[in-house]
């Protein structure tokens, strides 16, 4: 992708506006590090990267010291805002990336699950660490391949583990993940929708397979950009499918959808987004 410095700056602002939205969501949902009240149970699981970070003592220090955690969160949010204001200063992007990496690991360690929802925010700043426009274009293109890989990988795992042939895969996933909601909210409209779907298990199982096929369509993106609009729509829809089946909304992956948008310069680059940015 050939870009100009102005486009690079605009994209940087757009991506970091999304990231700021994600961080503000974390702030208002009491999940920035200073809001966690000194969590104790950790979950590095069998991932050596998490082991290394736990051994550095950084997560436990931040979790155990309110002042340090507050200062960290201020720096994290502050660096994101500063990138929005000064997108041409690459060192700010690097600082943000380092801070967000610590946040990403600490969040998952004390959240006791290695959720992939924040992976998009983790990798999205990488292309903006360079000033060279061709290197930026190549990294942005690489980010597009990373986005394609997420869905392709999900497709291939289901393909090779043959879960797409498992008769009740869809309905069993819904039953497992929605039991708590249906226990607490037996009479809501949403609960009635789920009752209806669970009463039609074949429909739920076919919806699961439909989602799986939609993931498989992303393979096309490795060979051509012609269908990026379709892939963009699918990448917007699939997190809703995951929300339906697993009761978890991976909205933070949406930042990667930007890599599927055609950002080529127009004859008249006065779109509403361009005007704002």
């Amino acid at each position: 992708m050939e870009t100009t410095l102005i486009q690079q700056t605009r994209l940087c602002r757009l991506v970091f506006a999304c990231i700021l939205g994600s961080l503000l969501y974390a702030l208002f949902s009491h999940t920035l590090l200073h809001q966690l009240q000194g969590p104790v149970l950790k979950y590095p699981y069998a991932d050596p990267s998490y082991w290394v970070l736990v051994l550095t003592g950084i997560p436990s220090f931040l979790a155990g010291h309110y002042g340090a955690a507050l200062a960290f969160d201020v720096c994290l949010l502050g660096s994101c805002v500063l990138v929005l204001v000064f997108p041409e200063r690459r060192w700010l992007v690097v600082v943000f990336f380092v801070l967000y990496s610590v946040y990403f690991f600490t969040y998952n360690i004390y959240g006791n699950w290695h959720t992939g929802s924040k992976a998009g925010v983790l990798v999205a700043p990488v292309p903006f660490m360079t000033r060279d426009k061709r290197r930026f274009g190549m990294l942005w293109e690489g980010l597009r391949y990373f986005t394609l890989f997420i869905y392709t990988d999900a497709f291939l795992w289901k393909l090779f583990r043959v879960s797409w042939l498992h008769a009740d895969q869809g309905v069993l996933i819904v039953r497992e993940n929605l039991a708590a909601y249906l226990y607490h909210h037996p009479s809501t409209l949403q609960a009635r929708c789920y009752y209806w779907f669970l009463a039609h298990p074949q429909l739920v199982n076919w919806l699961f397979r439909l989602g799986w096929i939609a993931e498989g369509i992303f393979i096309v993106g490795f060979f051509t950009r012609k269908y990026d609009k379709l892939l963009l729509v699918l990448s917007l829809l699939l997190p809703f499918g995951f929300f339906f089946f697993a009761d978890a909304f991976f909205f933070e992956l949406y930042v990667l959808c930007l890599t599927l948008v055609d950002w080529k310069p127009r004859h008249s680059d006065r779109s509403p987004i361009a005007a704002v940015l």
């Binding site: 069998a46 004390y110 992939g116 983790l122 990988d153 895969q169 069993l172 039991a179």
Partner: protein, 182 residues
């Protein structure tokens, strides 16, 4: 013929090529091994065939004034993550005799690739101290989320099943843990 992405990167910047190719290669390797080493992600969620079961478990937190904390809805996804997931980990640890479940998994595989981790285990995984401190932490986090003072709480495990109309029916309940203000 149009040059491939990696060929173009190689022609322009060899260091960038090795960075991208290395990242891609290690990601593929991790996926082939079925073992995630962040940031080489494995996107295999719900790819394993689900086990057919009639029994499910629901965790319910009861507060002192009779109120029930509903962590299944009404809170942001992130909040629900921190209300549910550490509690589920605590439950697993309790059912495992207070031993970190990951530690048990590593112990089971110690004969091969995990032998080197033994001297570091106490620093990496949860021990008795973390296990005992959990209920106090949960008591500190609940008021932040609910906006109300928490003087006591109890967490129950409900064993439930779906009836013919897909409604949840509770079969039995047992106490997971309880906490009172000191």
């Amino acid at each position: 013929m149009k040059r491939s992405y990696l060929a173009r990167v190689y022609a322009y910047d060899k260091r960038l090529f090795f960075f991208i190719a290395g990242f891609a290669g290690l990601t593929l390797l991790c996926n082939l091994a079925g073992h995630e080493v962040t940031p080489f992600f494995v996107w295999g969620m719900y790819s394993a065939p689900e086990k057919s079961t009639d029994q499910y478990e629901v965790l319910e937190t009861r507060l002192a004034d009779g109120k029930t904390l509903d962590a299944s809805a009404g809170y942001a996804d992130n909040t629900r993550f921190f209300l549910n997931s550490p509690l589920a980990q605590y439950k697993e640890m309790k059912e495992n005799g207070g031993i970190d479940v990951t530690r048990s998994i590593i112990d089971a595989r110690r004969h091969n690739k995990y032998r080197w981790i033994t001297p570091l285990e106490d620093r990496i995984f949860n021990g008795e101290r973390e296990f005992q401190a959990f209920t106090d932490w949960y008591a500190r986090y609940l008021p932040v989320v609910t906006g109300e003072e928490v003087r006591a709480y109890a967490v129950e495990v409900k064993h439930v099943h779906y009836d013919d109309h897909q409604h949840i029916v509770v079969d039995s309940t047992h106490l997971l843990t309880e906490w009172r203000q000191h």
